[in-house]
Amino acid sequence: MRDIATMMRLDWTTTKLHTIWWILGLADLVLVVLGVFLANTRFLMLGAVAGMASSALMMPFVGSQQHGLEGMLALLPLRRRTVVWGHYGYALSLVAALVLNFAVVDGVTGLIRPTEANFSRTLGVAAGVFFFFALTTAIEYPMLLKWGFERAPFAVYGTLFGLCAVLGLVAYLDPFAQLPVWPTVAMGLVGLLVVLGGSLMISLHVYETREI
C-alpha cells in the first residue's frame, strides 16, 4: 500500500502541476469573478478541466527520453505491479481533484449569483466528467503501458476522439431523460468499476514483461 502511494507521489511530482498550483488558484478566482459578472462560465471551465485532464493523464508516460521515466523506475525498489497500481491511482486522483475544483468553483459562483445556480446539475456534470475521464484512463493506460507514448500516440488521441464521439451521440439521443436517476447512476458506477478493474488486470499483465 505504502509503495503504491510512493508511486502515485512520483507520478504527481513528475508532472508540472505541483509547480503551478498557484496558477490554478488564480484561474479559479478569475472564473468565479467571470461567473458572477458574466453569464455561464460552466462550459469554459469544463473545457479547461477536460484539457488539463487529458494532457495530465499522459504525463507519467511522456518524458524527454524514450519511454518516459521507465529508465528510472527500473532502478527503483518498486515492483512492476506497484508501478501499474500507482499510475491508476494517480490518474483517478488527478481527475477527482480537477473535477472537485470545478465543482467548488461552480458552487462558489452559484452562491454569489444564485440565479445561475443549479447544484444538482453541477454535481451531475462533475460526476459525468469524472466518469468520462475514468473511462479514458481505463482505455488508454493498458495501451500506454504496453507500447509507451512514443509508439502509441494514436491510442491516446484515438481514445479521446472515440469517447467524445460516443459522448456526442449519447447527448444527442439523451436516454437519461427516460431512465430513473439513482438506479442509472448505480449501474453506471458498477459498470465503471468493472471496466476499470478489467483495464487494471490487462495493464498488470502487459507491464509485467514489458521491455524497457
Binding site: 511530482t13 509547480t19 518524458g63 524527454s64 527520453q65 532502478l75 525498489p77 515492483r79 524497457i212
Partner: protein
C-alpha cells in the same frame, strides 16, 4: 564466497542480433570489466541483468535473487547507470535528494551531495537543462549514493577527461574496499581497465569470447612480429588478426603455440592491442 552475480547460459535473440549464451560469475568484493567492440552486445547484456529485457534463454542470480520480481524488490542493493537512465525533467539536485531519500532505504544524502560537488554539477539546474554528459554524472552519483552491494555501470568513463577518470577509478576501488560490494562496468578505455579490473568479460559480435581473471586473458596470446619472409604457413594458420605491410607482418599467436614463433620478435600484448587484433568478429582463421 558470496557471489553478487551468477549467470548461466543467458541469451537474447533479436531479429538482427543474437547475444549469448553467457556464463560468468562475479564474487563479492571484486571489479569486473565488460569489454568488446561497438555492437558486441555489452549494453544488451547489462539490460538483461537489470531486467529491462527478458532473456530468450538461461537464468541468472543477482545479489542472491533468482527471479525478476525478487530482483526488482531488492533494488536497494543495486546501483546502476545506463545511457538510457533518466530522471524527471523538472527535478533539481535537491528534488533528487529529497525523493531518493524516500525511495531508497540506505540513501546517503551526504555522500550524494559530496559527489555532486566533486562532479561539478550545478545543484540548482533542472535535470532537462543539463548536458547529457552532466546528466550521466548525476545518474552515476545516484547509483553510488545508496550503499548498494552491486554497481552496474555502462560506460561510466565515457566523456570524462583523464583526471575525472582517475577520480572515478579511485571511487570504484574505494567502493569495493570492504570486500562486500562489487562493480561491473563496461568500458572502451580498456587499458585503464586492464590495470584495476579483477575479471574481464569479453564479448565479440554477441559471443562470449572470454571470461576470467584479467591476467589470464592477457597471457593467452603473444604478439608476434617479423619480416615478410619469416611468415610461415603454420604461423598464418594458428595466428589471428594477421597484418601485412611492406615492412613485415604482425599477428596474435596463442601462447600455447609459441614454439612456432621461435626466433621472431614476441611480446605480451596490452589489452588494447589484443582487442585490435581480435577485431570486430574475432575471426580465427583467414
Amino acid at each position: 564466497m558470496t557471489e553478487r552475480l551468477n549467470v548461466l547460459g543467458l541469451a537474447k535473440t533479436y531479429p538482427e542480433f543474437a547475444l549469448g549464451p553467457l556464463t560468468f560469475d562475479l564474487p563479492a568484493g571484486y571489479i569486473m570489466g565488460l569489454i568488446g567492440p561497438n555492437g558486441a552486445g555489452k549494453t544488451t547484456t547489462l539490460r538483461l541483468l537489470l531486467d529491462m529485457a527478458q532473456p530468450s534463454a538461461g537464468e541468472f542470480t543477482l545479489n542472491g535473487a533468482q527471479t525478476a520480481d525478487a530482483r526488482q524488490q531488492a533494488r536497494d542493493d543495486l546501483g546502476a547507470m545506463l545511457d538510457s537512465t533518466t530522471l524527471p525533467d523538472v527535478w533539481t539536485v535537491k528534488d533528487i535528494d529529497d525523493n531518493m531519500h524516500r525511495l531508497f532505504r540506505r540513501w546517503d544524502s551526504q555522500q550524494f551531495m559530496e559527489l555532486v560537488a566533486q562532479f561539478d554539477i550545478n545543484p540548482k539546474t533542472m535535470y532537462r537543462r543539463l548536458s547529457k554528459g552532466t546528466q550521466n554524472k548525476v545518474n552515476l552519483a545516484v547509483a553510488l549514493s545508496h550503499h548498494a552491494k552491486l554497481l552496474i555501470l555502462d560506460e561510466p568513463m565515457a566523456g570524462l577527461d583523464p583526471i575525472a577518470r582517475d577520480e572515478l577509478r579511485q571511487l570504484l576501488q574505494a567502493y569495493i574496499q570492504a570486500g562486500d560490494a562489487s562493480v561491473l562496468l563496461s568500458s572502451h578505455l580498456t587499458d585503464d581497465l586492464a590495470q584495476f579490473a579483477d575479471y574481464l568479460l569479453y564479448l565479440i559480435h554477441g559471443e562470449q569470447r572470454f571470461f576470467g581473471e584479467t591476467d589470464t586473458l592477457l597471457n593467452r596470446y603473444l604478439l608476434v612480429q617479423g619480416g615478410s619472409s619469416e611468415l610461415t604457413a603454420a604461423l598464418e594458420d594458428h595466428g589471428l588478426g594477421l597484418r601485412q605491410t611492406s615492412v613485415g607482418f604482425s599477428l596474435l599467436l596463442p601462447t600455447t603455440d609459441q614454439a612456432l614463433a621461435a626466433g621472431l620478435v614476441t611480446s605480451t600484448p596490452d589489452l588494447d592491442t589484443l582487442m585490435i587484433y581480435l577485431g570486430k568478429r574475432g575471426e580465427d582463421h583467414a
